[in-house]
Amino acid sequence: MTRMLCLAAAIAFLLGAIDSNACRAQSLAGSVSSAEESAMEGVLVSVQKSGSPIAVTVVSDERGRFRFPAARLSPGRYALRIRAVGYELDGPQAVQLGATGAEVAIRLRRTSDLAAQLTNTEWFISMPGTADDKRPLIECMSCHTVERIVRSTYDAEQFIPVLRRMAQYANNTIQARVQSRVAAREVNDASVRKLASYLATINLSRASQWDYELQTLPRPKGRAAHVVITEYELPRQTIAPHDVRTDAQGNVWYSNFVENFLGELDPRTGANRDYAIPVLKPDFPTGTLDLEADAEGNLWLAMMFQAGLARFDMTTKTFRIFPVQSELNDDAMQQSMVMPHALNVDGKVWTNDVARQAIMRLDLETGLYQRIDPFKLLSRGHPHSPYGMAADAGDNLYFMDFGDENIGRVDARSGAITIYPTPTPKSRPRRTMLDGDGRLWFTEFTANKLAMFDLKAESFKEWNVPTPHTYPYDVFADKNGELWSGGMASDRVLRFDPQSGRSVEYLLPRSTNIRRVFVDNSTDPVTFWAGNNHGAEILRIEPLD
C-alpha cells in the first residue's frame, strides 16, 4: 500500500503537483491560542524549512486548529511564523517534523507595536481626512508602504522637498533599489503643498503617538480560511516581480521591475533563473513591467525607460529587442505596456508612450514604431495615461485610461478612436484582460471597483470591492467565471463571483505589494499567482473549494 502511495506521489510530482519528498512526509498539525482568545480562528500559520526558499501557509479554523497538507512538507526543521493582527508569536519559534508527523501548540501574545502590523488599507481607514485628502497617497504605494509616511516626523515645510525629490524617482523604484528619472517630471506646486500639509496631520510630527485610533480588519474565517498559500523567496531583494504568468509546463515567468532580467521560477523546487535583457540605455532606470504571451507562447516585455519592447523566444531562450527609433527616443521615453496577443493578424504589436500619453504601434517588419494620440478628442489639461491593454481577434486595441476615467478603442485598420467613459467618474481604470466571450475585465483603481466592458454591447458593469481603500490593481476572470484581484494596499487577494456577488478575501502571510495577477486554469480548483513587488517573492494561492 505504501509503495502504491509513493508511486502515486511520484506521478503527482512528475505532474508538478507536489514535493518530491511527499511520500516520506506526514502531516504537520496543531492549534493556535492566546490568553485573550483561547482557541483562535483565522490565524495564518507559516512554516519554512531550513535552507529552503519555499514557505507554506495555512489558516486556523473556528476551533483554532490547522493542518498542512501532508504532501507539502518533508521531514526536517521548520521555522514558524504567524499573522494575526494585534498578536505576535510567543512560541514555539520552530518545529521538527518527523517521519510520523508532528503536532504543535502555538501560543500568541498581544503585540506591543500594532502599527507595524497594519496594512496600507488599514492605515487609510484609520487616518483622519477626506477621500480627497487621502487620494494622493495611493501613488506612494508604488514604492513604499503608508507606514513609512505615518512614522515620519516631517512637518509640512519639511515634507515639500521630500515630495519634490520623490516625484523624480522612476516608477520602477523599490526600497532596495531607488532609480531616478533622467527627464525631470513636472510637479504641481499647489498639489505638493496641499499634500504636505495633510501628511503633517497624520504622521508623528506633532506627537510621539498617533492621535487617531488604529483600526484593523477582521481575521479571515469560513471560506477565507480554506486555502493553502505558498511563498517562493527570490534570491535577491532587488528582484521586484511585477507581472507573473505560468507556462504549459507549470513554470512561472515574471517581469522584474527594477533589474533587467526576465525571471523563471520552478515551483517544484523553488529554483530561480534569470535571463538577462540587453541594456539599451545604460544611464537610465532598468527593469520591465508588462509581460504578455503571444499566440505562439513567446513572451513579450515592455522595457520601461530602456525604451522598447523585448521578445523572448521560449524555444531558444533568447531575446529579440525592438528599441524605439531614435527620432522618438528621448529621455522621457517609457514603455510600460505591450500587447502582442493578435500580432499574427497584422504583424503589429501595441505599446504605449507614457510620457506623451500616447499609444505606440510596432511594425515587426520594419522595426519602427508609430505614435498615435488616443486622447485627441479629450481635454488636454487633464492627465490621461494609456495603461492596461487588450487586443481582440482583429488586433483592435482596447486600453485603460489610467489617468482619468475612460476605456479607449483604436481600430487596427482605420486608426479611428472611440472613447467610452466609465459610469463612475475619475475611476482610473488600470489593468485588464479580455475573456473568450468578448468581455473586458478591469479594475477601477481609484473607484475601488471591479468592472466589465462588453465589447459587443458597448456597455459597462461595475462592482464595489468589499473592503474600502483596497485600490485593486488588476483582475483575472477564471474558467468558472469568478474574478481574482489584488493590489498594493490590503495584503489580501479577492475572489469575487460577479453573478452572485459572493466574495472571499484571502489574507496573505506578509506585507504584499501585488501588481499583475494570473490564474492557472489548468488546475482544479484554479491556482492564483502573483508577485510581491516589494518583497522579492512569488505567491501561489490554492483555494480548497
Binding site: 528619472r181 498639489s191 522621457a332 487633464h382 458597448e458
Partner: protein, 134 residues
Amino acid sequence: MSGMIFDRDWLRIALIVISVFAAPQHPRAGGVNFGDDDQGTADKGPAYFGFVREVGGPGIADAKVTASLKAGGALVTRTDIMGVYKIPGVGKDINPDDVTISCAKDGYKEANVVRRPGSDPKDPIETECYLQKE
C-alpha cells in the same frame, strides 16, 4: 463681424495644430503623479448632455449615445435609469458644431435629435434624442 469669425477660425485652427503636433510632444515624463487628480478642468470644452426619450413617451434607460466628431473618432456612453446621459471631457479645441449626437437601442430606430445650444460657448450642450419602436 466677419473679422471676428476669421479670428475665431484662425484660433481654432491654431489650437488644432497645437493639439495634434505640440501636445503629444509635451513630456509629462511619466505616468500619474500625486495631485494629478486635482488638475485639468480648465481645458475642458462643454459637456454634452440630455435625455434619450421614446417619441411621446418616457426616457429610455441604457440607450447608447454616441458623440461623433467630424474629424473622426467618437465618445460613447449610455443613458441612466431615467434616460439621461452626459458626455464630459471633450477637448475645448473641438468645435461643438463638429460634434454630432446620435442614439440607439435594440428594438428602436432614431426618430429625431433636438439640440439646444446655450448662449455661452462654455455652457453644456443639451441634446435630446428621440427613439421610436420598430
